[in-house]
């Protein structure tokens, strides 16, 4: 039994936390949210210099070839600092899709640039309100030309390339679409969390390349999302932990009726509930990253479990953090809303709670058929 990060990985955590504490204080998030800038390009450059965008990209493509354990650690710290960066779009989703499905030429064209951070990529899936149905996508590829509307697309304004999910006669396809071209128009849309820009993306005969030159099985795309779900879960966990820390600190220093509000059981029990949800989310995130890093057959179950736990923990922590702050929590001036926005934004990306609850139960059914007994030694 060794269910903990290694000493080197713990060191990376300290380093990442130290770095983001210094370079991404909440004033950085606030500057982007206030609209004085679209994102923090300087911070992105520094993060790329740290090698974080290259973490799991193989060395052959200019990456560091590290494991998902390292990436999970960085993801948690990204969430903790609510960094206004396209990290999830570019690293958890697009880089992974190219690595997983791309042809040799596509990989060697894009991965080195994504690893170095000089290029940013995103993924465009949603087209309309409601649960994403892969068989009903309306974006069409005909030859090398792509037509359709995607909204919302995270980080579209700053991305150099998008992986656009579309259909053709061959079926479901992930298409590589360079953003700087006539056939692509990007219109920013206001979202819940404008510290992470989103846009509407209109494709009118856009020049596109099919990733891997072939159609994808739905399951292949779902496995990609499983991997991303684990990394999103770690980022959400970071958000949840920040919200809890902020609530705890405020409860210790805010006095009412002659004593710290943190001494009232109404507040203590509330924050204990937050702690419990965070602890369940953390343990499930460990399970998730173990399954991802070790390419376990349990990944669908582990990913869905980690994702549901992280959605529940992060939104609850963020909501109750504001509640603990009372009126001050409802002001623009206090930072509470950063976590409230980010927790919900991350919970809506790649399928919301009900989608993953549903997938969890499907995976559980598969699992209980596959192995009646305990899968592990300990």
């Amino acid at each position: 039994m060794n269910f903990e990060f290694s000493d080197e990985q713990q060191l990376l955590r300290e380093q990442a936390r130290g770095f983001l504490t210094e370079h991404c204080p909440t004033s950085v998030v606030r500057a982007v949210l206030d609209g004085s800038q679209d994102w923090d390009a300087k911070l992105w450059q520094k993060v790329a210099e740290m090698g974080w965008t290259a973490t799991v990209i193989p060395e052959a493509y200019g990456g560091l070839g590290l494991s998902y354990y390292e990436l999970a650690i960085i993801a948690e710290e990204m969430g903790r600092s609510a960094a206004p960066l396209p990290f999830s779009s570019s690293v958890y989703l697009a880089s992974e899709a190219i690595q997983r499905f791309g042809t040799e030429s596509q990989k060697s064209t894009w991965l080195p640039k994504l690893a170095s951070g000089e290029c940013i990529a995103t993924v465009a899936m949603a087209e309309r309100a409601g649960r994403l149905a892969l068989e009903q996508l309306e974006t069409r590829r005909d030859g090398s030309s792509l037509t359709g509307n995607k909204v919302p697309v995270a980080d579209a304004v700053i991305a150099n390339v998008a992986i656009v999910l579309a259909r053709s006669e061959a079926g479901l396809e992930a298409c590589l679409v360079p953003m700087a071209q006539k056939g692509v128009s990007i219109e920013p849309v206001l979202t819940l969390d404008n510290s992470r820009g989103h846009s509407a993306m209109a494709l009118n005969g856009a020049e596109a390349q099919v990733l891997g030159d072939r159609a994808l099985q739905e399951d292949e795309w779902l496995r990609l999302l499983d991997g991303a779900a684990v990394l999103f879960a770690w980022e959400q966990l970071g958000v949840a932990e920040s919200a809890l820390t902020q609530a705890r600190d405020y409860a210790l220093h805010r006095f009412a009726f002659g004593r710290a509000i943190g001494s009232y059981q109404a507040i203590k029990h509330k924050l204990a509930s937050v702690y419990v949800k965070n602890t369940l989310a953390r343990s499930n995130a460990y399970y998730g990253v173990w399954a991802l890093a070790e390419s376990s057959d349990e990944l669908p179950l582990a990913a869905a479990t980690a994702r549901v736990a992280a959605i529940q923990a992060s939104t609850f922590a963020a909501e109750e953090n504001i509640q603990t702050h009372g009126g001050m929590g409802f002001t623009w001036e206090f930072d509470c809303h950063f976590y409230y926005r980010r927790a919900k934004l991350l919970s809506l990306a790649i399928g919301s709670e009900a989608v993953w609850q549903d997938r969890l139960v499907s995976a559980l059914a598969d699992q209980s058929v596959a192995a009646a007994g305990e899968p592990h030694g300990l």
Partner: protein
């Protein structure tokens, strides 16, 4: 990260499983015995072969095994359905207290028969006036020559009716603030003046008792810790309680819920296809899996020499309400027949109904949900205690209801 045994652990697991396969009694004659006799027979067999209380030092009947080896042993032993609950309090909570506080003579006298199951112990802490506020207890011990005389009443004492000895916290000085006036003794449950009355629980069963003490004499040598130090000694016992009560919610889990939802229908479709049902099952699984992997993380910390901390309080705080909620919802799915508890007729032989009836007890025993939340808030999150109106006041001047 991995879930694999180290070569040493694998070797130990193999040794344990081989011994269990050869020695675990499974025959019908054994099964026909009353549960306590089954438990004593099995415990004795383990003791004679060096497999009882393996974490204890050899001179007390153990084999000095590491915490990880204890876990491995428990995992292997739990593959056989053998009774063990009778010794949980004595071996899990009282033995560590004796090890920390008893004289060498008493350790040598009492620990080996505790390990062998020859002597069973109970814990006499709670009182009608002191449950969550344990230190408000009123049972008193007064000096009498070179000994003490105990008068008062204890309650919720599990297993008092089959115990040989018990540990008891009593008030020896009512004129000082409540935590300072307590002392800790062990008592002979067969001593004159000890009267045990079973409590009938709402389930109809009687697992615990009221215990009355009327002029019960104990020797001063039966005291653990100094006079007035009873609270500190109690904490040793209580620290081990959460661990002992830990994983008793096993019978109802997400897999059982799936199975029920596959059997019953909603509007002509299996309930398992209903999204509301799926959401519930997913949430329960998230809790079970979260506890399981939190346990794996604790184990890893344990194997690296860390001590178990208050964060382990979440097991009961999550597990017991989950059990109640799940039982309630599964009965809802069964419709009107959900009320049937009759083993012969009920879906899943009535375990759902029994879980529902047992759950309120689990949410209270060993620290209520509310006390558990306080422990997390205070010891993990560092939030302050509520102001206490009895703080610093002599116990006999504290207002009572």
């Amino acid at each position: 990260m991995d879930f694999n045994d180290t070569p040493e652990q694998a070797c130990f697991r193999k040794e344990a499983s081989i011994w269990l396969a050869e020695n675990a009694p499974m025959d019908e004659a054994f099964r026909a015995l009353p549960p306590l006799e089954q438990a004593k027979l099995w415990q004795k067999r383990k003791y004679d072969a060096g497999w009882a209380c393996i974490g204890w030092a050899p001179e007390f009947g153990g084999r000095g095994a590491s915490p990880i080896e204890e876990v491995i042993w428990r995992q292997e032993e739990s593959k056989y359905e053998l009774p063990a609950a009778f010794f949980l309090i004595g071996q899990g909570m009282i033995a560590p207290t004796l090890m920390a506080w008893a004289s060498d003579e008493d350790k040598a006298r009492f620990l080996p028969p505790l390990a062998s199951g020859d002597e069973v112990w109970c814990q006499l802490f709670s009182e009608p006036a002191g449950g969550s506020d344990l230190a408000a207890l009123r049972t008193r011990a007064e000096r009498d020559g070179d000994g003490w005389v105990i008068n008062g009443q204890k309650i919720w004492t599990s297993g008092a009716h089959f115990s040989d000895f018990g540990v008891i916290v009593v008030r020896t000085d009512p004129t000082v603030p409540k935590h300072k006036g307590l002392s800790y003794f062990y008592v002979d449950m067969k001593a004159p003046g000890v009267e045990i009355k079973p409590i009938k629980q709402l389930t109809g069963e009687s697992d615990f008792n009221e215990v009355y003490f009327t002029n019960v004499r104990v020797a001063d040598s039966q005291r653990l810790g100094e006079v007035g130090q009873g609270w500190q000694v109690s904490l040793t016992t209580l620290m081990n309680e959460r661990a002992a009560i830990g994983g008793e919610f096993g019978q109802l889990d997400a897999f059982l819920a799936m199975s029920v939802a596959q059997e019953v229908e909603i509007d002509g479709r299996p309930a398992i296809e209903d999204s509301a049902v799926r959401a519930r099952i997913a949430n329960w699984y998230v809790q079970e899996s979260g506890l399981k992997y939190a346990g794996y993380r604790s184990l890893t910390a344990l194997s690296r020499g860390a001590l178990p901390g208050p964060e382990n309080s979440i097991g009961k705080l999550v597990g017991a309400p989950k059990m109640q909620a799940m039982a309630s919802y599964l009965m809802d799915l069964l419709g009107e027949s959900g009320s049937i508890a009759d083993e012969a007729v009920a879906t899943k032989a009535g375990i759902i109904q029994r879980a529902y009836m047992g759950a309120p007890g689990l949410r209270i025993a060993g620290g209520t949900d509310e006390i558990m939340a306080n422990i997390i808030a205070e010891r993990v999150l560092g939030l302050p205690q509520e102001p206490r109106l009895d703080k610093g006041i002599p116990f006999n001047e504290v207002p009572t209801g």
